[in-house]
Symmetry: C2
Subunit: 164 residues, 2 copies
């Protein structure tokens, strides 16, 4: 398992379509991993990137607070595999009783990682080349199984419709 | 602080309007506490009530797994106060280093409590009587500040439009 550290390069979402994409880019390279994610998780990621302030803790803030209040620390996120169109993630925590690894959707894991500045890693084999015709990379998999009808009917210019 | 144990009596939501209400009812009594909540949190609560199965952990499942993997246990949820139209919640955890209380929105707290069968309590002073004209209780506050225009223009028959 060769792990490559990535940054969140872009978050693209369309409130009307209810579909969002997260683009991870390798540090020191040009490869990208686009992932379809849910709208709620996209908002949880956008809240950190846009430095939104809320009067009450949002769900991923609660998750962060629970980890910290239990005396634990988030060490890393890994996007380690893809199974039947779904990317699998793991979060690594160090608690008072030692290290634990917990299964998570990449979107939840990254929404949390951004809040505690934990590094995000992607399995080297998961990066996909851009479409040679368009140079555009579309997500090929998501957190959960994507809607096949939706994916089959994606227009070529889909990314142009999205606001960053 | 007199705490009254409650059950989730109803969850009402309208995907189009993007607004949801959670109705808590006291055990052994007839008083109710309706709370406006976000759509994502309503889905997280509905997932437990409707026993929906997902191939991947949803956000509140991750929260449950984090608590358990860190060797902690969720003991209770309290909805203890209302400030400027927003209900405040607390979750009580017992971790390896002792008990902690963590600030949370009631919706997140209850979505989590239902997953681990933890009891939910409401501060006795927060219950509101039903409207004497209609017998209907509308939420008077939410997890976060409600949209005032929306609330001001609610039709009387709003609850009839909602699916349970």
């Amino acid at each position: 398992l060769k792990l490559v550290r990535v940054d969140v390069e872009k978050l693209l979402f369309d409130q009307d379509a209810g579909v969002s994409a997260l683009v991870l880019k390798e540090q020191g390279g040009e490869r990208r991993l686009p992932v379809w994610i849910g709208h709620a998780e996209a908002l949880a990621i956008a809240a950190v990137i846009e430095e939104m302030e809320f009067s009450r803790p949002m769900t991923h803030d609660l998750l962060k607070n629970v980890i910290e209040q239990l005396g634990a620390r988030m060490e890393w996120v890994r996007v380690h595999d893809v199974v039947e169109g779904t990317f699998l993630g793991l979060i690594g925590l160090t608690g008072t009783a030692g290290k634990v690894e917990i299964d998570a959707r990449p979107s939840d894991a990254i929404a949390l990682a951004l809040r505690v500045k934990a590094p995000v890693f992607v399995n080297d084999t998961l990066f996909e080349p851009a479409d040679p015709q368009t140079g555009v990379q579309l997500p090929t998999a998501g957190d959960t199984a994507p809607d096949e009808d939706f994916l089959a009917n994606l227009p070529d210019e889909i990314f142009g419709k999205y606001k960053q």
